[in-house]
């Protein structure tokens, strides 16, 4: 099947859906979901293929190329899956709001732009799709008005600044080598002078760093993520900023090449240190937030630091960790934004952590989703975040980088704190009176959350499924192959067997359950009951005194 066709469907569907919306909103909703499901299925079908084809010859004397390989496939499948789930979530979320046709148009257009980015085989088409994605995202970030307008401006100005830097880089490559094809540039770059490579790296890394929100390029992200409509926040945080990650991988390992990159040890150290700072600072800023979505946004900045650290560190294990963490972050951060979006939907737009609480009784499914999502962010065993973070920690310790390892571990400690803050303030504690009669999240919101939760656990217990693809990507860059099994890694890098962990946890859980069953009967005490601090004292033994 031609990949060009895939792009035509991707770019045709937003406009088709928009005009269907003028006829009937039901038709529009159905068509939007069907088309994105079709796209996901098509992307799934081209697994393992690799090809290059020209889809437009002669744009200012250049050929625009589509290139498909394992790297672009991994990103493409993440893009289509996450945006399909976000779209399904939107069905209920956006219903009844204004400009819904426009909302769907831009959702699908951003999706198409991102697909274009990962499927392009030369820098001109890359840039074109990059810009289409950037300005369409601007339109949706501004959608909620009010504070969203300032967030949108901040985003688009930083994004424009990044893309002009990238344009200079692209045209400098063109002026020097006369080609913009990734495969041909790779040949030229391997013999280029170090000064020139650093010049190119700085230009491109500012563009990708802005999109990926590495410190000091991060200021656009927290307002943009928190003010955008929640399903779109999931797309932004889950995959849109990962286009920066894709750019980094492409630049460092496809265009510049592993060997040349490892020679630039100063640049590599700077990138590593920036990544470590990006893990540390935002994690603790997240802890101070009182807005649920802003907390998640800062958490995104921090987690993106892990991804960049993994990729920039440059060993086969860290690379696998970085790419796997990209995939994992896409799943659990999308899940968290969707879950917070569901809470926001039911409470009519309340995101303030201090005014929520106790929702576990009203929205139990959403609570479980958030629980699984936060376990993923923290990297609790049996979630996918554990495996990727374990790879990263392990490399950092094995390769003797105690400071980077400390940053990664310390960042996780902060992650535990803010994850707890999120869960506690939204779901635990007392239910405020005005929320006593809110309903569960609607079914169409529950489905995407369920699928994402399942994926987190599945990739946590059987990480071999995505790791096969990730290992193939690493091999294509010239990294040593990892010994991947369905339950993790084997042999030389140290055995990781998640299935054993799963079994062990199951046994422990069973034992705990048996002990509880065998022990004395549990007495349920109401939450407001402060008499014995929740200790198991039967009610009839309470002694109250008045006018003692």
């Amino acid at each position: 099947m031609s990949v060009t066709l895939l792009l035509i469907i991707a770019f045709g569907s937003p406009f088709l859906v928009y005009f269907c919306g003028k006829i009937s909103s039901g038709l529009r909703d159905g068509l939007a979901v069907v088309l994105s499901l079709v796209l996901t299925a098509l992307v799934a079908l081209i697994y393992g293929q690799s090809l290059e084809e020209t889809f437009y010859a002669g744009f200012l004397g250049l050929s625009l190329i589509i290139r498909l390989n394992m790297l672009s496939w991994l990103f493409a499948i993440a893009i289509t899956t996450i945006s399909t789930l976000a779209l399904i979530f939107s069905l209920q979320y956006i219903r009844g709001k204004e400009r819904t046709d426009f909302y769907y148009l831009i959702m699908l257009l951003v999706n198409a732009g991102m697909l274009g980015i990962v499927l392009s085989g030369d820098f001109v088409s890359f840039y074109i799709f990059w810009e289409i994605m950037s300005f369409s995202a601007f339109l949706l970030i501004s959608y909620n008005r009010g504070a969203a307008l300032a967030a949108g401006m901040k985003y688009i100005i930083m994004s424009l600044a990044g893309s002009v830097a990238m344009l200079v880089g692209i045209l400098s490559l063109y002026a020097s080598f006369g080609t913009l094809l990734f495969s041909e540039l790779a040949v030229h770059m391997s013999v280029a002078s170090t000064g020139y490579i650093v010049f190119i790296l700085i230009l491109f890394c500012s563009a990708f760093g802005i999109k990926n929100a590495i410190i000091p390029f991060h200021p656009w992200l927290p307002p943009a993520h928190s003010e955008a409509p929640s399903p779109f926040s999931a797309v932004l945080s889950g995959i849109l900023i990962k286009m920066g990650t894709y750019g980094f991988v492409l630049l460092l390992y496809v265009v510049i090449g592993l060997e040349t990159f490892l020679r630039l040890s100063v640049f590599q150290s700077i990138l590593n240190i920036l990544a470590a700072i990006t893990i540390l600072i935002p994690t603790f800023i997240a802890l101070l937030q009182n807005d649920a979505k802003r907390l998640l946004a800062w958490s995104t900045v921090g987690q993106a630091g892990y991804i960049i650290l993994g990729i920039a560190f440059g060993t086969s294990l860290s690379m696998a960790g970085g790419l796997f963490h990209f995939l994992n972050h896409a799943t659990f951060k999308a899940l968290l934004f969707l879950a917070v979006g569901a809470v926001e939907y039911r409470t009519n737009g309340v995101r303030d952590l201090n005014s929520l609480g106790g929702l576990i009784k009203r929205m139990p499914i959403t609570f479980i989703a958030v629980l699984i999502g936060t376990c993923g962010v923290i990297g609790v065993p049996l979630t996918n975040g554990f495996v990727s973070k374990w790879f990263i920690y392990k490399t950092l310790i094995l390769e003797g980088s105690p400071f980077l390892a400390f940053a990664a571990l310390f960042g996780t400690w902060g992650t535990i704190l803010y994850s707890y803050k999120l869960i506690h303030h939204v779901f635990l504690g007392q239910l405020p009176e005005q929320y006593t009669d809110i309903k569960r999240a609607p079914f169409s919101m529950g489905v995407p959350m369920g699928i994402l939760s399942f994926a987190i656990l599945l990739f946590g217990v059987l990480p071999g499924i995505p790791l096969h693809a990730i290992n193939a990507i690493g091999e294509s860059f010239g990294f040593a192959s990892l010994e991947i099994t369905i339950w993790g890694t084997a042999a030389e890098v140290g055995v990781l067997n998640t299935v054993n962990i799963f079994a062990a946890m199951l046994v422990v859980g069973l034992i705990v359950w048996i002990i509880f069953k065998a022990g004395p009967k549990v007495i349920l005490v109401s939450q407001e009951d402060t008499y014995a601090a929740g200790a198991a004292i039967p009610k009839e033994r309470y002694q109250y005194t008045v006018d003692f």
Binding site: E131, I132, R145, L171, S172
Partner: protein, 489 residues
């Protein structure tokens, strides 16, 4: 045999015939500019493939060159005349509905004269003839700026008139000095003899000519008239002033610098002047609250970009500059034309008055958005190839200086993005009143806006359709000896 002289003769004749048609019927008058410019467009398009092989030289009056007045229809001239005719035609169609009150007859005469003057400037091969056409253009634009007859319009027109008159005197003195030295007015003949003259005696007329034309081209620091004039004129005229009139000034400067003087030592100065114009224009535009003043300042910025690229004096630079002329003409015309009806509906030029226009005038707002995206240089609109070509030209110079300069230019485009994206937010995401009724631009005015939008998108996706012509235009400007040879034989 299609004669390029018709490009000037037909609209000139029809312009003066408009009052006569008025005797027949009042209604027919307003269709005369449409017909004349439609004719010019078709003729120019027919001429393009021919002049790409060989420039068409017409000697008026039967005298041999260099004693006669020449028309030189080379690639540069025909591209400009096609652009003038296209934009003139679309704005004329827009004017059918937009210009309803006031002295409509005089509007149509002056409008057609303005475009005739512009066409004359780009086609003539005689420097005094160029001056005459230039004056036709300027004088009609002074009058048209004051068309609405309000206080600000007249003030702006007088301001424009004074600066324009001074600039015309400078041009005239420059031409007189050249005539005194070389005894000829044919540009090719002057160019042939320029090396024989002393450096100082060439330098003075060159400075006079560049300064004189620089006022019309709105190059910093000669652009004080522009913001007032562009914002006080009716929007259709603003579109023409911004899209055509200042480009004709640029053309004149390019012709003087490249063909007549071949002044390689001032190219860097011109590039720096362009950069300065760009940065000042964009920064002023950023702080405007009046939408038409903002667009006017943005025009100054874009002009700076064109001058910047032309100053490279490489074929890449000139192709980039000329492409930018086309892209700016199309995009700025869309912006002015769509804003024209928004102002008409809201009754105010303040940017805050545009709130809710996305609901009230959806099609017009989309046109504005696309024009703005295009000016910022976002693909897939026409501004992207032009930004691409200019950056490419700068990097092909392979000097550190130009990388630094292009950095400043791109910083300018980020500023431009900032204010245009802010307006887009105003259009779509700011209205408080939810019960806005839809009242879009009238259908007849939407046609030219629609055509402009389509051409912005098509040229953005298929820029190669014009770059071939622009390449031969660039070689015409750079190879002055070829120009001299083809005119003088």
């Amino acid at each position: 045999m299609v004669n390029p002289i018709l490009l000037i003769a037909v609209p000139l004749g029809l312009a003066f015939a408009i009052p006569l048609f008025g005797l027949l019927s009042q209604k027919i008058q307003r269709y005369i500019p449409v017909a004349a410019l439609g004719f010019n467009l078709i003729l120019s398009l027919i001429l393009i493939p021919r002049v790409m092989e060989q420039p068409v030289i017409i000697s008026i009056g039967g005298f041999p060159s260099p004693f006669c007045i020449n028309l030189v229809a080379g690639p540069v001239g025909v591209i400009f005349s096609a652009l003038i005719a296209l934009l003139g035609l679309l704005v004329a169609v827009y004017g059918l509905d937009y210009i309803k009150e006031g002295a409509t007859e005089k509007y149509h005469i002056l409008y057609l004269l303005l475009l005739t003057g512009a066409t004359g400037v780009v086609l003539t091969g005689d420097i005094f003839n160029l001056f005459v056409f230039f004056e036709i253009l300027c004088i009609s634009s002074y009058a048209l700026v004051a068309y609405l007859g309000d206080k600000s319009g007249i003030e702006a027109a007088v301001k424009y008139l004074i600066q324009g008159a001074i600039s015309s005197s400078l041009i005239l003195i420059g031409i007189a000095l050249l005539y005194g030295q070389f005894g000829t007015l044919s540009m090719a003949d002057i160019a042939r003899n320029i090396e024989s003259a002393s450096a100082v005696s060439v330098f003075v007329p060159m400075v006079l000519l560049i300064t004189g034309f620089g006022v019309e081209a709105a190059i910093f620091p000669l652009n004080a008239w522009l913001p007032d004039a562009h914002s006080s004129a009716p929007s259709s005229i603003s579109a023409i002033l911004s899209g055509i009139a200042i480009k004709v000034g640029i053309y004149a400067i390019a012709r003087v610098v490249f063909t007549i003087f071949g002044a390689a030592n001032i190219f860097l100065f011109i590039t720096l002047l362009g950069l300065l114009t760009l940065l000042i224009g964009e920064m002023c535009a950023f702080s405007q609250n009046n939408i038409k003043r903002l667009l006017a300042f943005s025009s100054i910025g874009q002009i700076g970009l064109i001058v910047f690229a032309l100053g490279f004096a490489t074929s890449y630079g000139i192709v980039g500059g000329l492409f930018q002329i086309i892209s700016h003409a199309l995009s700025k015309a869309v912006l002015f034309l769509s804003v024209g009806y928004m102002i008409y509906r809201s009754g105010s030029m303040e940017i805050t008055a545009l709130e809710g226009m996305g609901k009230r005038m959806p099609l017009t707002s989309i046109a504005f958005t696309i024009g703005a995206f295009s000016l910022v240089g976002v693909p897939p609109f026409v501004g992207f190839p032009s930004k691409f070509l200019i950056v490419r030209a700068a990097l092909y110079k392979e000097e550190l200086l130009f990388i630094v300069l292009i950095g400043f230019v791109l910083a300018g485009t980020v500023i431009e993005g900032a204010y245009f994206f802010r307006i887009i937010q105003t259009l779509y995401f700011k209205e408080k009143d939810t019960s806005i009724k839809r009242e879009d631009t009238s259908a007849i005015a939407l046609i030219p806006i629609g055509i402009l939008v389509i051409s912005i998108i098509l040229l953005g996706i298929f820029p190669q359709t014009v770059t071939a012509v622009l390449n031969s235009a660039a070689s015409e400007l750079l190879d002055r000896f070829e120009y001299i040879r083809s005119v003088l034989g």
